[in-house]
């Protein structure tokens, strides 16, 4: 199965993706996060690392939840997602000097995160080839299963919620690699097709096509019910 190709994490000097008509997009005004990232870059360049770390904590706090949501949907394992997000933030900080204003910070960060998730999936696939997978019910899964529905719901409702989750997960796993990435980024990562286009290097209209096909396939697999 083809994997989604996400551009190099530190390749900040690469030009922004062109729009559907092949024109360069007009540079958008810098977001608050991008300005903060530029400030941190300046501090790191002046070797004022304590201040840089302090400012970076604000970036972590604002992107953490979204990053975890993306990583968790991608990896389907709480510990893996936790590590992937940590790694992405550490990588961003250590490579902050290569950040360029051509990209909004969230695009740059998400690109690094997705690359990390893809690497982990590959690693897991390699590992599973050699080792017998352990019992799939981990602590996190049990927790998730137990509170997937309302905590006060009756056992039947909780069982139904678990089944619904399992069905959804299986359906998303059946998406083709590129479709899955585009769908994850747009639907769970709150990215616009233009941002996904910048992250993946795909044409914006291609992103829209992948997104539509992914959503249609999911509707087909889930019978119109989430």
């Amino acid at each position: 199965m083809r994997k989604a190709a996400v551009a190099s994490p530190t390749g900040a000097s690469a030009p922004p993706a062109r729009d559907a008509r092949g024109r360069r997009p007009v540079p958008a005004p810098l977001s608050e996060d991008s300005r903060l990232a530029i400030e941190i870059r300046g501090l790191v360049e002046r070797v004022d690392l304590d201040d840089a770390r302090e400012r970076f904590a604000a970036l972590v706090a604002s992107h953490q939840r979204r990053a975890l949501r993306i990583a968790y949907q991608y990896l389907r394992d709480a510990a893996d997602a936790d590590e992937a997000v940590q790694d992405a933030f550490v990588k961003v900080f250590t490579h902050i000097t290569s950040y360029r204003e051509a990209w909004p910070f969230e695009v740059w960060f998400t690109r690094i995160l997705i690359n990390g998730c893809l690497d982990r999936r590959k690693m897991r696939a390699r590992r599973d080839r050699w080792f017998v997978p352990a019992d799939e019910t981990t602590g996190a899964d049990e927790l998730r299963a137990s509170i997937a529905g309302s905590p006060d719901a009756n056992p039947e409702a909780r069982l139904l919620a678990r089944e619904r989750l399992a069905r959804m997960t299986a359906a998303i796993d059946r998406l083709e690699g590129r479709q899955r990435t585009v769908f994850m980024l747009c639907h769970y990562g709150d990215c616009t097709p233009r941002e996904v286009s910048a992250m993946t290097g795909l044409n914006e209209s291609t992103v829209r096509v992948h997104l539509f096909r992914a959503a249609r396939k999911l509707r087909g697999l889930l019978g119109g019910q989430p």
Binding site: R53, A78, F89, T94, H187, F212, A215
Partner: protein, 217 residues
């Protein structure tokens, strides 16, 4: 202008959904059609419910796993890692061995000298050993030659035989001569030595080659 006769395609409906979700405004003709066409409005509503349901389910699941405490712990962990990441890496020396620093080549040179001296010593030792071995071999041959020249002479009682010549014991070889007698007497001398005294009873039971050869004569 989109008329009611041409309903909005599903792909456009998805576009509308993502455009609305990103906070942007729909194209006015599209928005107008969705408002007026009951069928397209119903399809759009169904699509919106499905997609929102997917999203809500995923958010609920993610929030259940990543609680505020866990998020806080993760932020602390990231801060710790960043603090370590900004420090220079330190090389820890392997226990019991000195760390060779780059740029300081003295230990390596000393090691080379030791290795070269050991190799030279080995070669010298081999050469001396071979030389002395060949000298001893020559001496033994000379002694054996002198023993052959005096067949009747018996070695001193305590003397150790230095060289034993092979004797044909079967077949149609030449008859035993004086050197055979010397060999036999060497054997006798060897048997009389204190360390072989325990074997004398066995030796008495064993027929001697000399006796057999005498009988054959």
């Amino acid at each position: 202008m989109i008329t009611h006769a041409h309903h909005i395609q599903e792909e456009r409906l998805f576009d509308c959904y993502f455009v609305e979700r990103s906070g942007e405004l729909l194209d006015p003709p599209l928005a107008e059609h969705l408002a007026e066409c009951a069928e397209c409005g119903a399809r759009y509503g169904e699509l919106t419910r499905f997609m929102d349901g997917l999203r809500a389910e995923a958010d609920r699941e993610s929030d259940a796993v990543f609680t505020p405490e866990r998020l806080h712990a993760q932020r602390q962990q990231i801060a710790r890692r960043l603090e370590h990441a900004s420090r220079a890496a330190r090389v820890i020396s392997f226990p019991g061995r000195s760390v060779s620093r780059p740029g300081n080549s003295t230990p390596r040179v000393a090691t080379r000298w030791i290795a070269a001296a050991a190799a030279a010593g080995l070669f010298v030792g081999l050469a001396v050993g071979m030389f002395s071995g060949s000298q001893a071999f020559k001496g033994a041959r000379q002694m054996n030659a002198s023993a052959r020249q005096a067949p009747g002479a018996r070695p001193a009682p305590g003397a150790r035989p230095t060289f034993l010549t092979p004797v044909p014991t079967r077949g149609n070889g030449p008859a035993p001569d004086a050197s055979d007698d010397a060999f036999m007497s060497d054997l006798d001398v060897a048997l009389e030595r204190p360390r072989t005294r325990e074997l004398l009873p066995f030796e008495a039971l064993t027929p001697h080659v000399r006796e057999v050869s005498d009988r054959l004569r």
